[in-house]
């Protein structure tokens, strides 16, 4: 009886430690979040907030901005305790709350050719796909520089397939939840047999360590040396481009020997330079899968529109553009620089057509409005830069109003131009930058697009 008890006890222990191992493996978690005892053998407990010469540093998110530290009378340690405000949404890193980091082995599962996809890659995609496989095989880093609409996701399939069949853990990090929500089902359908996790704020899969993970960059703060392949989608996108925390999170979440693949349509100037000088390994896809050149934006001077708007008038050229779209019944995006202006201008534009709508980042009806636009119920959607990427609607025109404003950087403008002519049936469209004085960013964006078309022509990737 006793021995049976002991055996079952051991069994429970075995089962329990297995569960804990599954939960803890590849993670760095706050001690306060762990409600069970953990095996000291496989973890390292480190302070989450350390003192430096400048003040404090958060070990989890690398925050050193002293304005983003605060202190409070802590009931847990009974002292005035300092915590990091930067990553507080992922649980509070404070002086009395250390990080528990898994240092033990991470289980791995391998799949035999899990990819179930019958599509075909274009020659340019095939080239990039081979490079991706190569980089994954050799644990290298690679930049995939592909124009908007080149079919970046398909380029990854073969590489992910290769990694999974070698028992490697793959993570695709995207800057925003929308992208994760779009990407995850697409990958699940081509890798039906693979265990997958989609991680974002409020996701059901939280805490899962899957063979294939799609996550927002924020969620990576919970992982430590967990992934053999790290793919960072849209590196140039906000907030990744401005927040060094996110690149720190990427570095910490991947294994020391692992491959790192960046995907982007618009690498920043430094990266473009490094690619040119050969310092950074890159592969370029300069043409869209439908073999038509990228539509090139035209500039149109519209005078001091801000002054005009104070008298509640819009420049004539903008009104003409609007009338032309409405009479042709062609859908269009009108990008504006900021939310305040958007909220004022939408009611004004509604007198031209009552169904014109505006959408911005904090709009609670954002999803519904975008869906209504996709279905063709909204003739013109006025928006801030949130829709600059990801939203694909066939046969549309795009205009940027106030293109000289600093929010419209080179990469933002290239992305905006990339909304046009995405589908094979309607590969052309009109892109207009209404401006009050050309900026460097506008010129660079146009040059960027022209250069991509030239490159594609040279490589024979266009049918003209």
């Amino acid at each position: 009886m006793i021995s049976a008890n002991r055996r079952s006890g051991r069994l429970v222990h075995f089962f329990f430690s297995g569960v804990i191992r599954l939960y803890m493996a590849g993670k760095q978690l706050l001690k306060s979040g762990l409600s069970f005892p953990y095996d000291e053998k496989y973890v390292q407990v480190v302070e989450s907030i350390v003192k430096t010469k400048k003040g404090y540093r958060c070990v989890r998110c690398d925050n050193e901005d002293q304005q983003l530290f605060a202190s409070f009378p802590c009931a847990r340690c009974g002292r005035i305790c300092t915590y990091c405000r930067k990553c507080v949404t992922m649980g509070r890193c404070s002086e009395c709350n250390p990080l528990v980091i898994w240092t033990g082995p991470i289980p791995s599962t391998s799949f035999s050719s899990p990819l179930k996809w019958s599509g075909k890659l274009s020659p340019a995609q095939q080239l990039a796909s081979d490079e991706v496989c190569h980089a994954i095989d050799r644990n290298d880093s690679l930049l995939v520089w592909a124009v908007c609409g080149a079919g970046k996701t398909e380029v990854l399939f073969a590489g992910i397939d290769l990694a999974l069949s070698h028992g490697k853990r793959v993570c695709i990090a995207a800057p925003r939840t929308d992208v994760v929500l779009e990407l995850a089902p697409r990958l699940a359908s081509v890798f039906p047999s693979v265990d997958m996790a989609a991680l974002y704020g409020g996701s059901q899969d939280r805490g899962k360590l899957a063979s294939l993970t799609v996550a927002t960059t924020h969620q990576l703060l919970r992982y430590y040396r967990a992934f053999d392949v790290m793919i960072v989608d849209e590196v140039d996108a906000f907030p990744y481009s401005v927040d060094p925390m996110l690149s720190y999170a990427v570095e910490r979440a991947r294994k020391p020997t692992s491959s790192l693949i960046y995907l982007t349509a618009t690498p920043n100037e430094q990266w473009q330079h490094e690619v040119k000088s050969g310092k950074r390994k890159a592969v370029m896809i300069p043409a869209r899968y439908h073999r038509h050149p990228l539509p090139v934006p035209t500039f149109e001077w519209c005078g001091n529109w801000q002054k005009k708007w104070r008298h509640h008038r819009l420049p004539l050229c903008v009104i003409q553009w609007l009338h032309a779209r409405l009479s042709q019944k062609k859908q269009a995006f009108l990008f504006v620089p900021h939310i305040e202006f958007l909220q004022q201008v939408v009611p004004y534009l509604q007198q031209f057509h009552p169904l014109i709508e505006g959408v911005h980042a904090e709009d609670p009806k954002r999803k519904e409005k975008v869906l209504a636009f996709r279905r063709g119920h909204i003739p013109i959607l006025v928006t801030t830069t949130i829709l600059e990427r990801g939203v694909t609607v066939p046969n549309i025109d795009v205009a940027v109003f106030g293109a000289e404003q600093p929010i419209f950087t080179e990469s933002a403008l290239v992305q905006i131009a990339g909304r046009v002519g995405r589908s094979a049936q309607y590969p052309t469209g009109d892109i207009r930058f209404f401006h009050f004085g050309k900026t460097k960013a506008m010129v660079k964006a146009k040059r960027h697009i022209v250069r991509m078309n030239d490159e594609a022509r040279k490589r024979g990737l266009l049918d003209e």
Partner: protein, 222 residues
């Protein structure tokens, strides 16, 4: 300046009143500030709920039950923005957000109460306190320069927000700690007044212990 809520940089408007008086600069940016809605205009005189009647039906019902709470005063209306901020403050534990409320809390409090009252913050259970690291009611009370009395102890561990309306009214949540409240004027402090079950129960206990003129003060009225 960095906004305490959205962390964006913003430029405060320079004016002579800032140089010449002791007026403090706002800690959050105008955009975040505008999304908080102060309770103003027609309200129930007992519980601060926004309503056209002088006394709302809930308060009439409380009166029938012979509640000893004289009045509840709240600062802000509950909206989606408030929900988001409170979620970060209470559940994520971003204590520094309390600074965003300092000015309004002090202004509203001094408008309604004299300075000879004692504050009794609604307590948390020990396990919840350990989990959060601080008591949000105590954090709010600490914005006011008045003495605090820890007269109550929590005996029930369930979150109010996880209970139904009926469950909130049945069962006891607190007991007395034995701190002396006799003949003292008490203001109970909490983060949110929803049905009022929490503060009314606390008021009854304090009244039985000899406290007089019991009112309550909450950050939010939902």
């Amino acid at each position: 300046m960095k906004c305490v809520i959205c962390h964006d940089d913003w430029m405060p408007k320079m004016s002579f009143s800032i140089f010449l008086t002791l007026r403090q600069e706002d800690v959050c940016c105008p955009r975040c500030r505008a999304r908080f809605i102060r309770l103003e205009g027609n309200r129930c005189e007992r519980c601060s709920r926004l309503i056209d009647q002088a006394v709302c039906e809930d308060c009439i019902a409380w009166e029938k039950r012979k509640s000893v709470l004289k009045q509840n005063v709240s600062v802000y209306m509950y909206n989606d923005w408030m929900k988001e901020v409170m979620n970060r403050f209470k559940f994520r534990g971003d204590y520094a957000l309390i600074e965003a409320f300092r000015h309004d809390v002090r202004a509203v409090f001094s408008k309604h109460f004299s300075s000879d009252v004692c504050l009794v913050p609604i307590p948390l259970s020990p396990s919840r306190l350990a989990e959060r690291g601080f008591n949000q009611a105590e954090a709010i009370a600490s914005l006011l320069p008045l003495p605090m009395i820890f007269a109550l102890r929590r005996i029930d561990d369930e979150k109010q927000s996880k209970k139904t309306r009926r469950e909130r009214f049945t069962g006891r949540k607190f007991c007395l700690t034995g701190e002396n409240v006799a003949e003292k004027r008490i203001v109970i402090v909490d983060d949110i007044y929803t049905t009022g079950a929490t503060v009314h129960e606390a008021a009854k206990l304090l009244y039985d212990a000899g406290a007089r003129d019991i009112c309550s003060f909450t950050l939010i009225r939902s």
